[in-house]
Symmetry: C2
DNA sequence: ATGCCTGCAAAGCCTTTGCATCTGC
DNA sequence: GCAGATGCAAAGGCTTTGCAGGCAT
């Protein structure tokens, strides 16, 4: 493990990310963090998101759309993505999933599986219905 | 529906994609197609992949890694992605999945769900074990 | 004091797009 | 013949990175 330092930038990025439920993109988080650190750079945001992901303090949602999104809530839960606007929501349910031990795939060792839900968020439903 | 034309380029892209099981990226497909159409452009490959995806003739794997990958096999099946190299394999199994009717998510209408498996492919397992 | 971290800017990578030309239908 | 498609090259969007100076430990 490489040594890391808790800089003001890193602390605030983590704090802001934990305070929102929007699963922001790096750029959205950059905008939010600049309200408190107006001179922070986008590169610093990206670098810290990498470090915080590697340390397990946050989640990087690689499969939640085109751009990566980040989640400050690392408790086990699923995500749902709006097909219209890309917004991501949380889904704190459990349900039966296939037993990985029983899954055989040619040429692969199976290690895990990910479930992503899709749908339409309230905001877009209203817009579409009009 | 917009009118489309079956050009030589489109036909060969589709033929090549259907002939491989590698779930190539646009660039990998471009390389393969150039063996038969040396003067095709990468832009044409992208444009045709868009059109073929929209028409349902191929699948675009949006959640199978950083780059998008494409699949000429549109029969129902799952995918597994190698955590090491990003290769994608097929998984023709069925298993119980949560009933979408029963899933309630705040602020969302649930429409679908996607399952992606992850693991390590033979090629990388050999490399990692050494 | 050390070396990790920052801001800035440039570069990288993948994908899309404008334009003149070409070609299925 | 005409609208859709192509090749080429430039531009776009997101992310990473080189560098000189700054700061946590």
């Amino acid at each position: 493990m490489v040594q890391t330092r808790m800089t003001k930038q890193r602390a605030i990025i983590l704090e802001v990310l934990r305070s929102v439920k929007t699963h922001p993109t790096a750029d959205e988080l950059y905008t939010l963090v600049r309200e408190r650190l107006p001179r922070i750079s986008l590169g610093t945001v990206y670098r810290n998101l990498d470090i915080l992901t590697a340390s397990g303090d946050i989640l990087r949602l690689d499969r939640a759309g085109e751009q990566k999104r980040f989640d400050g809530d690392i408790s086990p839960h699923y995500h749902i993505r709006c097909d219209e606007c890309g917004r991501v929501g949380d889904l704190f349910m459990t349900f039966p999933l296939p037993d990985l031990e029983k899954i055989q795939v040619e040429n692969f060792d199976v290690h895990g599986l990910e479930v992503i839900f899709s749908g339409v968020c309230d905001h877009c439903r209203r817009r579409v219905e009009q």
